[in-house]
């Protein structure tokens, strides 16, 4: 087989490339992710959630840009940094917050926690605590869609660090081999805990690894929700047409430490500042206002409403009961309802 050598580029679109309704939806979704995560940090420091909590601040454009381009019925699979992917996929903030509080009303009934969010109802196939663990699972969901003859697409998010794991290469190979309807979305935030991407990867351009499997690989500005959306739309069309997988490398940055337990001492403050200036939320706000798709006031209203929604989620989580300890063995087996 001859590899196609052309460089994959998503064509630019004349602005405004989105409608007002789409613009507001994207903005609302990113603000939802940001506000939820800021609240998680507060709740963690107040001792109301526990364990390892990995926040998504800074990376919102990736979840929003990809997931909001999906149809109902499509699948999303994530990592331990999964709250915002779940939110974008429609899992209610209440159900996620309650899970983080360990409550019976949580999306995993208090049994999963931050790194194990699931919602069958929303085709959110999980939160996976091990690095690269979700990649084969998402690949399986794509095979399943093909097997069952549906037009469902599977989207899988993971970090740069995961691309050095065998599961990444093994899965891409199978997905290409069987032309599976899947998007592999790498959120390249340059770091894996304290390990710099360049110290861990012999070829730092992850999108180029698509070449080895003769599938399209795109380098995407992951701080620009419209760029992410453009790439996602192209990849989703390809997947739905039965043409196979796509690899999207979205360059991004996490504004907080790896988890709330990480002292985050290794990243250069100058590097952090540089990326903070590219915050995807104000960037979209400027775009919407500039192209007269929304006013500042409308955006402010979205922020206020979202704040109210998140406060409601906390109240709900707080008021919810814990799962009864005498039901501790429930759900171990398929027979447990």
């Amino acid at each position: 087989m001859v590899l196609s050598q052309e460089v994959n580029v998503i064509p630019k679109v004349v602005p405004p490339e989105i409608t007002r309704a789409q613009g507001l939806e994207l903005y609302q979704d990113m603000v939802l992710g940001r506000t939820f995560e800021d609240m998680c940090a507060q709740m963690y420091y107040q001792g109301r959630m526990f364990g390892f909590v990995h926040l998504y601040n800074g990376q919102e454009a990736v979840a929003t840009g990809c997931i909001k381009a999906l149809k109902a019925g499509d699948y999303v699979t994530s990592t331990y940094r999964d709250h915002v992917h779940a939110l974008s996929q429609g899992v209610p903030a209440r159900a996620i917050m309650a899970e983080l509080f360990g409550k019976a009303t949580g999306c995993s009934k208090g049994r999963g926690g931050s790194m194990h969010l699931f919602s069958a109802e929303h085709n959110f196939l999980g939160g996976y605590a091990f690095v690269a663990e979700g990649i084969p699972v998402a690949t399986g969901a794509a095979y399943s869609a093909k097997y069952r003859g549906t037009d469902q697409v599977s989207v899988n998010f993971f970090g740069d660090g995961a691309t050095n794991n065998g599961a990444f290469f093994e899965s891409l190979n199978m997905a290409a081999l069987w032309k599976l309807p899947i998007l592999y979305v790498v959120e390249n935030n340059l770091w894996s805990i304290g390990m710099q991407h360049a110290r861990a990867s012999s070829v730092t351009e992850i999108y180029k690894k698509a070449l080895a499997f003769d599938i399209p690989g795109y380098l995407v500005d992951g701080m620009d929700v419209l760029a992410v959306r453009r790439a996602a739309v192209t990849a989703i069309e390809r997947a739905r047409a039965g043409e196979g997988p796509t690899l999207l490398e979205c360059t991004t940055y996490r504004f907080r430490g790896h988890s709330l337990a990480d002292p985050d001492e290794l990243r250069d403050p100058a590097e952090k500042d540089l990326w903070r200036k590219q915050d995807p939320i104000p960037k979209l706000a400027r775009y919407l206002v500039e192209h007269q798709l929304a006013t500042q006031d409308e955006l402010q209203t979205i922020e206020d409403d979202t704040q109210t929604l998140i406060e409601d989620a906390v109240q709900f989580a707080q008021d919810s009961p814990e799962p009864p300890v005498d039901e501790i063995t429930r759900y171990v087996h398929a027979e447990d309802e």
């Binding site: 360990g102 999963g112 926690g113 660090g161 894996s192 805990i193 501790i328």
Partner: protein, 325 residues
Amino acid sequence: MVMQYYFEALRDAIYEEMVRDPMVMVMGEDVGHYGGSYKVTKDLFKEFGGLRVLDTPIAENSFAGMAVGCAMTGVRPIIEGMNMGFLLLAFSQIANNGGMLRYTSGGQFTVPMVVRGPGGVGRQLGAEHSQRLEAYFYGVPGLKIIAPATPLDAKGLLKSAIRDNNTVLFFEHVLLYNLKEEIPDGVDYIVPIGKANRLREGQDLTILTYSRQVHHCLSAVKTLVNEGYDPELIDLRTLKPLDLEMICESVHKTHRVLIVEEDYKTGGIGGEIIALLNEHCFDDLDAPPVRLASRDIPTPYNGRMEAATIPQVADILQAVKHLVD
């Protein structure tokens, strides 16, 4: 003497062995610049450089396999599992090569490597970060398995593990890293593999335990002694090979056994010990041995459920009284 945390004692053990033997090296995720997720390798990178303190990509199976190749050819690697659970991904290389290669090569090669890191149930870390792999690996021939409960044992046993010519799995416990103890200064402190530690002599029954459950047992024993009981408490320290001599000697005296372990009850180490008791000292037993272990469920995130998953001090008190009274 210096007061040291468990993680510092481990660090010193590695440091001393790296100074002693230039072939000893460390590899794993974030062991270098970051200093290890529980600071066990803190500053070793500065001291020994990147060749000897190797930051690896997140590729557990392959770096474990690399460690095997290193060990077969003269290097003595210490693998840090950032969490021992992650080494499920490396099960094949550890079991097939670390455990069996010496034998399958007809004795031509040894695989002197140490596989160490945190395991056990912490504080609401969720199922995948709360694993007890000691039982999963237990049946693999050729491996030695250690699980120290104190800073002193952590240091002495890690030094033994590094010097051992077999593949040794060394299970630390997430909740023990901040435990403090006096450690002898400037001494080559060694604890031999395969030797249990009798923490209290007693006549009523023998409590066998390891790792974090040692501390639950110690507090239970305190209460029991105040109430007039006379338990014998043994910290197994090495899980494989077990110190059968000390176990049998103790049972010969007490005639009753309680095993307290954090691994799953089904397929756990307690079950194996009971089978051994049947084989080696059945006639000494006055009552069926009892084991307290984790429930056979993935560790739930919810705090109360999590606590109900593993043996607690109250469970130990109740089990002892039931056995003795």
